[in-house]
Symmetry: C2
Subunit: 288 residues, 2 copies
């Protein structure tokens, strides 16, 4: 079994901070130390202050000295980092990212990272709409799914990454990058567009914002919460999974039109909604 | 000032139970007692057991003896009740409903309820996706908005209803029934269709349910929660506000298509998402 050894986390935002905090709290055997690098002034130190690491890395080259390298930056940053630094990675080290789309990451890792480096895509399915070190909520990785998307035939990369996920108390889900992106377009990326589109419905010339504010309920608040996410991060992962997301929007529109056409006919709509409620319970578990 | 006197609650579901429980907990001056009527076997007794009332009413006619009559049944039931019992209501009593669409209720009250009865539409903006007496969560009316939609020129109805809302620790929002329905189509009714449509996206022949289950995150759970609502209730209020809901679906589709078209161009999408995040914070308050 490989050990995590010296860990370098690139990006001290919500996810980088969360991973660092969780590793230090759980302190797995073989963890030598955690260094954090963030190009934004003061971010790494803020993450270290929250307990996410031991050291602030003062130069991008220091990352390459680590045994385990975790890229926790927005997707465009990940692709740029791979092109800039991938070719210089040390043979025998583990490289994993945390981006929420995986097809482009796999392609870019495959092109830019030498074969003796153990590279694999990663995606922790957790987090909230906040950003920065202060948005990390200790414990939120616990029991959550962590997708691992293989880049090439490399059993060591997969086993090593599974150890990392285990050390984070999360569950490894090994999945093909394209399948991952197909599902995530529908279960997550689409929801960001939807949430933003819903907010736009409240922009109604005929109705004052004050009346909207008074009549809006918790469901609208909840279903537009993703629209409060960081636009830089969201526009980045939507670009990186654009084709699947656009396809998902098309499927959603088809479903919506079909359901809307039934609204004048409750005898038609009722059994359809009943079946959907059952399918949701089967998919997500009852009471969720 | 009028007093609530003898209160009759028709329907011992989540909302009827919640209203009864809240009135008894807060015990406003002038409340003489609460009787509950529900045609489903054992429901009224279950609500009384939860503290929602003093008496199980054993006949529909008993409701007409009350001073304050609250209809807490699904919208089609409300319309049916008004047609069946409205003409027999006692002059001087207060009649209010709790349905989530108000235009048809106003029309039907206006047609079926004699002028000396104080009739007004009501809609507590709270509740969860559960149903039945056990779904009522004590305290959930507190601080929430309670729309009051006038049926005809009747200041007594409005003042009396505002006292009821105050007794429930909720906030009265007096609004025209059509405006109410326009907003609610977008802030609530549409969301039920959307939530159901999203569940359908997980019905994908190319992907096993097991993999979906493993990769689905909290956002999808949250944004499909309304699809677990009672299909009878949902299909009823969608029918009663069908024209506005279908219009809202059309507006949402337009917004979605416009945003989806920008996904390959993050430089276009990013500022749009940024403006939407600001509008959401203005509408709902930051941190919501």
């Amino acid at each position: 079994m490989r050990e995590l050894g010296e860990v370098a986390v690139v990006g001290a935002g919500q996810i980088g901070t969360l991973i660092g905090m969780t590793l230090r709290e759980r302190s797995p055997q073989g963890l030598a130390g955690i260094g954090l690098l963030d190009q934004r002034e003061g971010r790494s130190q803020a993450a270290v202050n929250r307990g996410a690491g031991d050291t602030v890395l003062d130069h991008p080259l220091r990352v390459l000295e680590a045994d385990t390298i975790i890229l926790a930056i927005p997707i465009r940053g990940i692709l740029g980092w791979l092109r800039a630094w991938g070719p210089q990675l040390r043979p025998g080290s583990l490289l994993i990212d945390t981006g929420s789309s995986k097809g482009l990451v796999a392609d870019t890792m495959s092109q830019c990272v030498p074969p003796l480096v153990h590279a694999i895509g990663g995606h922790p399915i957790c987090g909230n709409q906040g950003s920065g070190p202060e948005a990390a909520e200790s414990g939120s990785l616990s029991g959550s799914s962590f997708a691992l998307t293989p880049v090439r035939m490399d059993p060591t990369a997969q086993l090593w990454a599974m150890e990392l996920v285990e050390a984070l108390d999360a569950r490894s889900i090994v999945v093909d990058p394209q399948l991952h992106d197909r599902i995530l377009a529908r279960s997550s990326h689409l929801l960001h567009l939807l949430s933003a589109a819903l907010v736009e419905l409240a922009n109604d010339q005929q109705i004052t914002s004050e009346l909207w504010r008074q009549l809006v309920g918790p469901a609208f608040r909840g279903m537009t919460r993703l629209a409060a996410s960081d636009p830089e991060m969201v526009s980045g992962f939507l670009e990186s999974n654009s084709a699947e997301t656009v396809a998902a929007v098309g499927e959603l529109i088809e479903q919506l039109e079909s359901l809307a056409a039934m609204t004048p006919r409750p005898d038609q709509l009722r059994p359809v909604l009943g079946e959907i409620a059952i399918r949701r319970a089967e998919l997500l578990g009852a009471g969720q």
